[in-house]
């Protein structure tokens, strides 16, 4: 059964030209999705709609069969969705542990260790961590929220090849071992190769590649 479903979703910035045109798709738990597409095609917008950061111009998005607008977007974000951003988006004056604890429904320490941070790194200010370490903290934050869906926007965009591979591997584990629905927007073909389902966004339409 799908955890997320898009039904006839359309989106336009100025009511003139639709960035997203009549999109229909279903996403399931335990799968790792990659959404590919050229820059400016609306990938991030699609992710924002799925995560309840914005509302579609037309159509509905269902979470576990329920319209997320009716659920309440803030509640949807809080209970069902976790975001991972390209620029990590950690609170810069807090430590990794405190960042994870912000929305944590699970104990932060084991999760931080699970994503590969040492005890010493956990106590540092996040700005003193490397990009890869910061992204691990962001993944830990997403996992600690115990959300069923993880939405990642270019999670490896700022990382070197080796670290990107490690992060991709962690995300894959999240989907397969923790039964999350992981949806990643990316330009990286390496990351897309690791996905269970690759979706292509072209001219406002979403198609399985």
């Amino acid at each position: 059964m799908s955890i997320l479903e898009l039904r006839n979703v359309q989106y336009s910035y100025d009511q003139k030209k639709n960035v997203l045109k009549n999109i229909n798709a279903q996403m399931e738990r335990g799968k790792f999705y990659a959404i590919l597409g050229p820059s400016g095609c609306g990938k991030t917008t699609l992710l924002s709609l799925l995560g309840g950061l914005d509302s579609p111009s037309q159509g509905t998005i269902l979470f576990d069969g329920q319209d997320i607008e009716k659920l309440g977007l803030a509640k949807h974000r809080k209970n069902n969705i976790a975001f991972i951003f390209q620029s990590y988006n950690l609170i810069d004056y807090l430590t990794p542990k405190e960042n994870v604890a912000l929305t944590s429904k699970l104990p932060p320490l084991p999760i931080l260790q699970l994503v590969g941070l040492t005890t010493e790194e956990i106590k540092r200010n996040v700005l003193k961590l490397s990009g890869g370490q910061q992204q691990r903290v962001a993944i830990a934050r997403a996992l600690a929220s115990d959300a069923k869906v993880i939405l990642a926007d270019e999670p490896t965009g700022n990382l070197d090849e080796k670290t990107a591979a490690e992060i991709t591997s962690i995300l894959k584990e999240c989907a397969h071992q923790m039964q999350k629905c992981v949806i990643v927007v990316t330009h990286s073909s390496d990351l897309a190769k690791q996905a269970d389902v690759v979706l292509q966004l072209k001219k406002g339409l979403l198609q399985e590649a």
């Binding site: 924002s48 950061l53 809080k78 209970n79 988006n89 405190e98």
Partner: protein
């Protein structure tokens, strides 16, 4: 993580910002509290001045309308009616008069109860063996407290009490005279009328036992004391209950004609009402106002009240300026800080933290800084007020110079109102965007 913990973490982790806001709030609040305290003190002092500066009017003989009376040898004296007890009684019926005094000077001597005449104080030996050896400058008084010598603070009552119109056989003498003769408050002595024609040897034909009810200290020093006759030295001044003076002297020099006083001073409750009271007094038909002048004595009040009023309005203006500048500064700082936290706001909103919860977090953050800042302001202003009490000691009643609970509450409520307004305005400018727009601003 609870909103309280998030707010606490922000305050603790951003020490510089927290300390800056703390300092601005604490110093502003302390300044306003101190200012309010000075303003209240000046208002209270003004109110007290209205009752205590001794604003008065004087009713005195109008010598310009008196008739000339020849007393022989080519000398004439002006005849004019005196201010009488009956007149005083009539005037006292006017509303707003709380005290009066009339002066009746006399030259009297003191004897101890063993009959020994008490020598007056002087240093110049040229007065030895003269009639002036025992002459005291006796001032008959209804209310010695209102005598000009006390009001001008030339004298200060240091022991005992003042004489009132209810007293009889009471005197107040100088500390110096009391010390010279080993006298103290409560002691009894005999007051004698000086007989000018027969000299001191005959003094004592008329006398009265009196009680020393008070001692005064001389504050204003006299110039050229050596050349003054002992009678005119402050040490030899003596205040005597009016009835006693009357019974003893009966205005010795011109007893036949003189049945009253040269003048009488009337003290009013409220100097602001002085004009009205005088107008009412002048309407009294029992007094021939052609024979009397009325003069107003409210310079001290006007001077003091004027300076108090100027001080209060200066402080009021300063407080307004400081509050406006500080409020603007706090609002600007908070607004800039909150706008600088747009990234954090976007992250928290992406995590599903609602706008009201974020607003509450900002309010709690400010409260966590404001509460200790206001407590510090209380302590700082207490110290400042203590310091100012020394500074303004002679300018105002410093017992009024204190931080009141009501002022503290006003400052706290005002401060919280400014903070809440600043937070609300700043948040509205960020919260009107959708989370996606906020996140795009971050990129």
């Amino acid at each position: 993580m609870s909103v309280l913990k998030r707010a606490g973490l922000y305050v603790m982790k951003n020490t510089g910002r927290s300390l800056l806001l703390f300092a601005i709030l604490a110093l502003t609040a302390a300044f306003v509290l101190s200012g309010l305290s000075i303003m209240n003190a000046s208002v209270n002092t003004s109110a007290r001045l209205r009752g205590t500066t001794g604003a008065s009017f004087t009713v005195e003989r109008n010598l310009s309308t008196g008739s000339l009376n020849s007393i022989g040898g080519g000398t004439s004296i002006i005849q004019q009616e005196f201010v009488t007890d009956a007149m005083i009684k009539d005037i006292l019926k006017t509303d707003g008069i709380r005290a009066y005094t009339a002066k009746s000077g006399a030259s009297l001597a003191l004897r101890d109860l063993s009959g020994n005449l008490l020598r007056v104080i002087y240093e110049n030996p040229k007065w030895d063996g003269t009639d002036l050896d025992y002459q005291l400058n006796a001032i008959g008084s209804f209310f010695s407290e209102y005598d000009k010598l006390f009001l001008s603070q030339s004298f200060l009552l240091t022991q005992g009490r003042h004489i009132t119109d209810q007293d009889d056989h009471c005197i107040i003498i100088s500390e110096a005279l009391a010390k010279k003769h080993g006298l103290s408050v409560g002691d009894k002595v005999e007051l004698y009328r000086q007989n000018w024609t027969t000299g001191m040897a005959n003094a004592g034909d008329e006398g009265a036992e009196v009680e020393i009810v008070g001692l005064f200290k001389i504050i204003e020093s006299q110039d050229d004391k050596n050349s003054r006759a002992p009678f005119y030295l402050y040490e030899n001044y003596m205040f005597v209950s009016m009835n006693t003076v009357k019974s003893l002297s009966d205005w010795v020099d011109d007893a036949a004609e003189r049945k009253g006083y040269e003048y009488a001073d009337f003290y009013v409750d409220d100097p602001e009402q002085l004009e009205t009271i005088i107008q009412n007094v002048q309407k009294l038909g029992s007094i021939n106002w052609n024979n009397f002048n009325i003069t107003v004595n409210d310079e001290v009040y006007k001077r003091a009240a004027g300076s108090m009023s100027n001080a209060a309005s200066l402080i009021r203006t300063l407080i307004i300026v400081i509050v406006v500048i500080s409020a603007g500064m706090v609002a600007l700082i908070l607004s800039l800080w909150l706008k600088g936290r747009i990234r954090e706001t976007g992250i928290l909103m992406a995590m599903g933290i609602s706008k009201p919860a974020l607003l509450l977090q900002h309010v709690i953050e400010s409260a966590l800084i404001a509460v200790p800042a206001f407590c510090a302001a209380w302590l700082i202003s207490q110290g400042t007020v203590g310091w100012m009490a020394g500074l303004f000691d002679s300018a105002m009643e410093t017992e009024y110079l204190a931080i009141s609970g009501a002022d503290f509450m006003t400052v706290c409520i005002g401060g919280i109102w400014i903070l809440l307004t600043a937070i609300l305005i700043s948040c509205i400018s960020v919260f009107r965007y959708k989370p996606k727009s906020i996140l795009s601003m971050m990129e």
